[in-house]
């Protein structure tokens, strides 16, 4: 048993224990806190799987902001669960047990955890990890490179894409190479024989797709290859915010502001908050901008930004927050984020490319265009996420004070 398995077993035992505790505990306050702990434990599990971006999101969203929002909800529904006479619902138990059994049954034929021969590790995905999807195998495209296309600059990437995947998945030498590759010791390989693409238009992408600007392959996957999905994930967040306003906001004539308690006598809290808020904001912007290089991006950064505003509201009162971000402004900004994202896509389309083909933003250096587009959409995501979180918080606080 190696260290990874040992740590995983320990963490998953704790996760299970926390899950049971969440169900068992009668105080809703305690179970809200426990969900935060659950998320933090899961974040550690993701770290153990080397998926830092997922871990970061889990910590920021699950451990951070959703706990705040859950506790905000408790103010309305009360801290204690209503006593239920019959605690065991037999059909529900049977159904849940069957679902769980099916889930486990389904794992029996899954590729083993971390198996380098699993389909996911050698079909389609290596090209994404190597960021060579657009310019397959470095072969020059049928289209002439555009004016100012720096061929020399891309030549250094040609060495990356060598060595076919063996037909026999049990080829041990190849497996070893693959393990080295997962450890980051050698660069991933790309299948030599590619099926031809439907259209030759892809070849505008440079050999490494992003001119080496985006070392974090998670970001390239989320914001470029599957950027269209991410646009709609952002829209999901936006929709949640708008639906909440639609359902819960009071008519405007009653006014936004029902001032809650302000912690004016808590000197230490006020000083600490004043000191830390600028750094939280800075960190939020850093996470958004830095998403191309390391773990992070619009979602995580947006949540971090939102916590700065929420902290401000908690310590200095919502009247102060509304002077900084009046509700009409935050309402508007929730939409502006998605509009930045979809607008970037639309601009690419209006320039003659496909929707979200960022390389159109800089035809001379398509990889730089990709990088620029990704930064833009990450900011779009960040704005929407932070403002929706703020809107939800405001809405909960609003209800509380009336």
């Amino acid at each position: 048993m190696n260290a990874v398995v040992l740590i995983d077993t320990l963490l998953l035992l704790l996760v299970t224990a926390t899950a049971v505790a969440i169900i068992e505990v009668r105080s809703l306050y305690a179970s809200s806190i426990l969900t935060g702990i659950y998320s933090l434990l899961m974040a550690l599990v993701w770290v153990n799987m080397h998926s830092m971006d997922v871990s970061f999101t889990e910590a920021a969203v699950g451990g951070g902001i959703s706990t705040i929002l859950l506790i905000g909800t408790l103010v309305h529904v009360g801290r204690e669960e209503k006593p239920i006479k019959k605690r065991l619902h037999v059909p529900a138990l049977i159904f849940t047990a069957l679902t769980g059994a099916a889930l486990i049954y389904g794992t029996l034929d899954m590729p083993r955890f971390g198996d380098p021969a699993a389909p996911i590790h050698h079909y389609r995905v290596p090209e994404m990890m190597a960021q060579t999807v657009g310019f397959v195998n470095g072969t020059p495209g049928k289209q002439k490179p555009p004016e100012g296309f720096d061929v020399e600059r891309y030549r250094r990437f040609d060495g990356r894409v060598t060595g076919p995947i063996p037909d026999d998945p049990k080829d041990t030498a190849w497996r070893e190479r693959s393990i080295l590759q997962t450890e980051g010791l050698i660069v991933p390989q790309v299948r030599a024989a590619h099926e031809p693409h439907a259209e030759p238009g892809h070849h505008l992408h440079p050999p490494d797709d992003f001119n080496g600007h985006v070392p974090n392959s998670v970001t390239s996957l989320l914001a470029a290859y599957r950027g269209y999905d991410t646009m709609f994930e952002t829209t999901v967040i936006f929709t949640a915010g708008v639906s909440l306003i639609l359902l819960l906001r009071r008519p405007r004539r009653e006014g936004y502001l029902q001032p809650g308690a302000v912690m004016s006598d808590q000197v230490i809290l006020r000083v600490v908050a004043k000191l830390s808020i600028p750094f939280i904001l800075l960190f939020g912007f850093y996470v958004i901008t830095h998403g191309e290089l390391g773990p992070g991006g619009g979602f995580q950064g947006g949540v971090v930004l939102a916590t700065a505003f929420i902290l401000y509201a908690l310590i200095f009162g919502r009247a102060a927050l509304y002077r900084v971000v009046p509700p009409p402004v935050s309402d508007m900004l929730t939409g502006v984020g998605v509009l930045i994202y979809s607008g970037t896509g639309a601009v690419c389309m209006l320039l003659g490319g496909k929707f979200l083909d960022y390389s159109m933003l800089n035809p001379a250096l398509p990889g730089d265009g990709e990088s620029l587009g990704m930064t833009l959409v990450e900011y779009g995501v960040g704005i929407t996420v932070s403002m929706v979180m703020l809107t939800i918080f405001n809405q909960l606080a609003e209800e509380r004070s009336t």
């Binding site: 389909p119 439907a198 309402d331 320039l351 960022y358």
Partner: protein, 506 residues
Amino acid sequence: MLDAFEIVPNLPVLVVTTPLIGGILTIAMGRGKGPWAWATLITGLVFYFTVLLMQQVLAAKTGFISYELGNWPRQWGIEYRVDALNAFILLTVAGVAFVTTLYAQKSVEKEIPQDRHNFFYAVWVLAVCGLLGITVTGDAFNVYVLLEISSLTVYALIAMGKDMNRQALTASLRYLILGSVGASFILLGIGYLMMVTGTLNMEDMHDRLAALPDAVHNRTVLVAFAFLLCGLGLKMALFPLHMWLPKAYTYAPSAVSALLSATATKVGIYMAFRFLFTIFGVGFSFVAMPANVVLSVAACAGILVTGVTAVRQTNLKRMLAYSSVGQLGYIVAGFALANVHGVAGSVIHIFNHAMMKGGMFMAAGAIMYRLGRCDLRAVRGLGKRMPLTMAAFVAGGLGLVGFPLTAGFISKWYLVQGALEAPHMWPVAAVVLVGSLLAVAYTWRVVEAAYFQEPEGDSALVTEAPLSMVAPMWILIGASVYFGVSATFTGEISMRAAKSLLGGAP
């Protein structure tokens, strides 16, 4: 900058991004009629795009149009793929969305607080965006993402029912819980498939599954199949997983009921088409796995049980909701036959039912608009007071029965033909006929109340609903009659869709 841009090659993505961007901008359209006018403009534009898209698909030599988002090769990025089937569904959804938006103005004015019309129409347009996005895509995960959008928006729209009373809220909450369970099952199914195939593109996934040695005994694939079937069953309200639907449709705002009944569950069925036929393939779903037996038993039971339940209802909207579950049963029973006529009947009934039921919910909404309720008692004597509305309701009801010269007749013709062609499937044909008798029963109850009973109370004083409600109602009902008389277009498209789903020539 615009000289390099052309509309036609970008149609598949314009169908979805127009309502996305338009939906967000709806919020900025002020208080008065602005949001409604803007939503009408956007849905009208989208409808126009789907018409153009339909023309393109019919003209395409390959039988389909492919659009690679972000210009990434489809196997790695996300592909939009439009063939005869989804072009037809897109046209139906966008058309109904446009007509219901026209209809919505008056009823929304009455049912939704004035100060949040802009948010209401924003969510409305985003719901249309989600439904169209599910229909246009050729990527399994993209389906799930858009499913989230359509579900979230629909929960919110339902909860807005009747000044947000408790019943609308609980109906919405119930749908939220069951819908989330369904969506989780779908997500798990997609995840398991991704693990086995290493890809998310539908066509690619199909090829990989077909190449998988012994896929029929691969336990991961089997569980994925079972989960997808459960999740899709919940989403398309297949009996007995339909428990969320009646209350949701009954308590939702009138315009929302009309929109949902004609589009939301239909898109669920479209997803089932894609997962069962395109990804798993007919051989896996219907030959190796007993999906045809499971689905046709559930569908037939649904037709009979909900038919009987519908007869016993006194609330018009609830009666229509139960009838919807039964009609969805016809659609499911059709494609479970897995032969050309069965699948074609299923596709054509998606369109026909959208027209009829959309129109009937609009009629119920018009009664609601005038009287504030729509139970059988309120309907008494309305045949004289609101002749156009009641005539529309009856014409739609005749369509549900499958009366000749209505669209419902065409659907049932295909279905019965398909059932008789398939081996040992004649009971389906029998159930279709019994279901029609049940439809006669519940339609008759309304006819009796409206034309053979005297009005009482405020029913005696009402006048016909405003033109802005009656006209859209008759557009849909008129379409259902027109396509009942002349079914060449719908018939050809659905035969073509059926053949391509079953793996023949497109």
